[in-house]
């Protein structure tokens, strides 16, 4: 026997679960919170280990040093590092019913990172039934990213940089959550392997009509401490190749710099920016970024 009754669309009353309404409210809250942000730029690589997080943290610091009000959202929820790299001392974040204040780095960058919430050494994990966690794990991480966007009191910013994790999923999440994503900076290393992996991520960005502002080639040679010059390191020219293939610009080439690595380890980005060849290169990238968002 087939029961005869009205369908979902024929029942015109409000959705009693109120799920759609709640999702719409979530989007509205993100838009409201970011109303004072002039430009939101994501930094992506698509490949791990290319130095994207340090590049992002240093870029944020460089822009702050040039007078911009800058925020840095660490969207790498599983492997967060923005706070440590930026020299933020972990202290309690002030929170009330309206939101929470971001941490402030020594160079004045407003930072939110899962690193500030997790116990030292603890992996990101959620309370959940013991099996089939893959079903909702992605949704939980996306919700956490949404809360970082919507609940942190970012205030008025000239620039909000979002440090994306390796892979492409978080770029999709971010693009869907934001009222507008103003552009993307892509980080690669010179190798052909990196070029292939990063190219796939850029293809996704192109398919989603996300503007690629340019490419940063990291570990492009090494900074010789003795001769103060850039010496060859890895073969390849992935930065130029990708810029050409995706009709964008090579924003800069950052050398591997042992001295910069020491400063990064201690979160001394001001030292990195002011006293290393890598810092000089990142500052040049920052100048181009400022022109792009002006």
């Amino acid at each position: 026997m087939t029961l005869k009754h009205r369908t979902y669309s024929e029942v015109t009353g409000a959705d009693t679960s109120r799920m759609v309404e709640q999702v719409a409210a979530q989007h509205a809250r993100v838009a409201e919170r970011l109303d004072g942000v002039k430009a939101c730029i994501a930094v992506m690589s698509g490949k791990g280990g290319v130095g994207k997080s340090l590049t992002t943290a240093a870029l944020a610091s460089a822009c702050a040093n040039r007078g911009l009000t800058v925020g840095l959202l660490d969207a790498d929820l599983v492997g967060p590092s923005a706070a440590r790299l930026s020299g933020v001392q972990v202290t309690g974040l002030t929170v009330d019913e309206n939101g929470l204040d971001p941490a402030i780095s020594p160079t004045g960058v407003r930072i939110m990172s899962m690193e500030l919430l997790l116990e030292d050494g603890a992996p990101l994990a959620f309370r959940q039934p013991s099996s089939e966690s893959f079903v909702w794990r992605g949704a939980q991480e996306r919700s956490a990213l949404r809360e970082f966007l919507a609940d942190v009191r970012w205030g008025n910013l000239d620039l909000l940089l979002v440090d994306l994790p390796p892979g492409t999923q978080r770029l999709t999440d971010l693009d869907e959550l934001l009222p507008r994503l103003d552009g993307l900076i892509v980080v690669t290393i010179p190798s052909a392997a990196s070029q292939a992996a990063v190219g796939r991520s850029m293809e996704l960005a192109r398919q989603r009509d996300i503007q690629i502002l340019g490419i940063v080639e990291n570990m492009a040679g090494y900074a010789c401490a003795d001769c103060d010059e850039i010496q060859p390191l890895f073969p390849g020219d992935a930065g130029e190749q990708l810029a050409s293939a995706y009709d964008t610009v090579l924003l800069g080439r950052i050398p591997f710099d042992a001295e910069a690595a020491v400063h990064a380890n201690t979160g001394a980005l001001d030292q990195l920016m002011n006293h290393t060849l890598a810092g000089e290169a990142i500052d040049a990238v920052a100048l181009q970024l400022l022109e792009a968002i002006a």
Binding site: G92, T94, E97, L100, Q140
Partner: protein, 154 residues
């Protein structure tokens, strides 16, 4: 999601939500025509899937809290991650409430909640009491709020 009483051809109304504490959820819906009540029972996986989206079936009668999903669902959170500030007296007045008193037993129970989430839980229970005209929060009120608001694990 809509529930239809086929016999009456009336859309059913959300009545209440219940969390038995085993990861499952029960949401009751009532037919405004014949007053029949049906319960939707979800298993832990279904319950978690909805929760992961940061939403509650039937909505919530109190405002959402900052980082509510992160604070309520994440494990391994730092004890000193947050400094929760108390609502100001002015905020209470604007809500039409002079404030809510916590019984000693309720305070003791609150102290057993991990610090990572404690401040938020306190605000949620306070909001619940204010919304429902309750002047004193007791363990019984906390139990009701937990069930009514779907505060699994708080």
């Amino acid at each position: 999601m809509k529930f239809l009483c086929v016999e009456c051809d009336e859309q059913m109304i959300f009545e209440e939500r219940n969390l038995p504490g085993d990861g499952t959820l029960a949401a009751a819906f009532r037919c405004p025509g014949c007053e029949r009540i049906v319960a939707m029972l979800t298993n832990p996986m279904e319950t978690q899937l909805v929760s992961a989206l940061g939403i509650k079936i039937g909505g919530s009668e109190v405002p959402g809290q900052p980082l509510e999903l992160v604070r309520s669902e994440m494990v391994g959170g730092r004890e000193d991650a947050f400094v929760d500030t108390e609502p100001t007296a002015a905020a209470n007045v604007s809500k039409g409430s002079p404030g809510v008193v916590w019984s000693l037993a309720a305070v003791e129970r609150l102290e057993s909640v991990p610090r990572f989430v404690r401040g938020m839980v306190k605000r949620i229970y306070t909001d619940y009491a204010q919304e429902n005209g309750i002047s004193q929060i007791t363990p019984d009120v906390m139990d009701r709020a937990r069930s009514d608001l779907g505060l699994e694990g708080m």
